[in-house]
């Protein structure tokens, strides 16, 4: 089995998630060794995932946690027992 570039692209996501069978993985790695364009595609897709996982990409507004817990506190005081079947 010799993979074409577009077949490699179809597997990029599963490759990154390590969901491929060893055989397909090996074929892809063989292709990547000799194909600059596919290596670059894989590399840039991985960069996107690194950026996504970066805690600083999405940040909480300043004071968010305090406001959240303050509001919860008020709600809990209204109805102190979530196990209660009465409403």
């Amino acid at each position: 089995m010799k993979l074409e570039c577009n077949q490699v692209w179809e597997h990029i996501s599963e490759y990154l998630d390590q969901q491929l069978t060893p055989e397909v993985r090996e074929e892809i790695e063989k292709h990547l060794e000799g194909c600059v364009a596919c290596s670059a595609t894989l590399d840039s897709t991985r960069n996107v995932l690194i950026l996504t996982a970066d805690d600083r990409t999405y940040e909480l507004p300043v004071g968010y946690s305090k406001r959240l817990h303050d509001r919860l506190e008020r709600v809990m005081r209204e109805k102190p027992d979530p196990g209660s079947r009465q409403s």
Binding site: E10, D43, S44, L49, A53, L72, G83
Partner: protein, 209 residues
């Protein structure tokens, strides 16, 4: 992981038995997850914060309905997505979103950007603030069905099964949508990733051209 789940189950049991203050501790690990999920849906900080508060209140009020069959985080994210969808229907983007809802599999070109002049970018280039901003923008632009899967899988790091359960779709659908989302993001972000890569001017430079 397993211990966390046991600890949570114990917390929930005690909260339901009356120690309601422990609810603060129960949700603390998920504060950001809930906010970010809502932010990617509502695209507005204030609205996302208000919605996140509402989600936690709803979770508190319906905690007795949590059966422990799914993880608490999955249950919470389902509440968050429902809250987000409800709000989307209300706000002015409603028309556009409901249109999106009807398109099950948007047409599109799902081939990645083809790169012949790529050099592996150094990790420090990924440190740039503009790049994170570009990524947020690109995520916003994804069609809803791809955005939801991407947010749960790659941002919230939920596994395939949890994502499928939270969205009510099959695992193969999760895989296909995630793949397409990633490819679309790669395509959008490649120009900025390249721009951010500083030229290598060392005497090795030529090797990378």
């Amino acid at each position: 992981m397993h211990e966390d789940r046991q600890h949570e189950a114990e917390l929930i049991r005690r909260i339901l038995a009356g120690e309601t203050d422990l609810f603060h501790e129960l949700i603390r690990p998920y504060e950001k997850m809930v906010y970010v999920t809502l932010f990617t849906m509502l695209r507005n900080e204030t609205e996302a914060e208000d919605a996140a508060q509402q989600v936690m209140i709803n979770a508190f009020r319906s905690l007795k309905l949590f059966r422990g069959e799914s993880k608490f985080s999955t249950w919470l994210i389902t509440i968050a997505m429902n809250e987000g969808r409800q709000r989307l229907r209300k706000i002015k983007r409603a028309a556009e979103e409901s249109l999106e809802d009807t398109i099950e599999e948007p047409e599109g070109d799902f081939t990645p950007a083809f790169l012949t002049d790529w050099r592996e970018i150094p990790l420090e280039a990924l440190e740039r603030k503009e790049l994170r901003q570009k990524l947020r923008g690109a995520v916003e632009m994804l069609p809803k069905i791809y955005r939801e899967v991407f947010v749960l899988r790659d941002l919230q790091e939920m596994n395939q099964e949890e994502t499928a359960a939270a969205l009510g779709i099959t695992i193969p659908a999760v895989k296909v949508r995630l793949h397409r989302a990633r490819i679309m993001l790669q395509k959008t972000l490649v120009p900025y990733l390249k721009e951010n890569a500083p030229a290598r001017k060392s005497f090795f430079g030529r090797l990378f051209q």
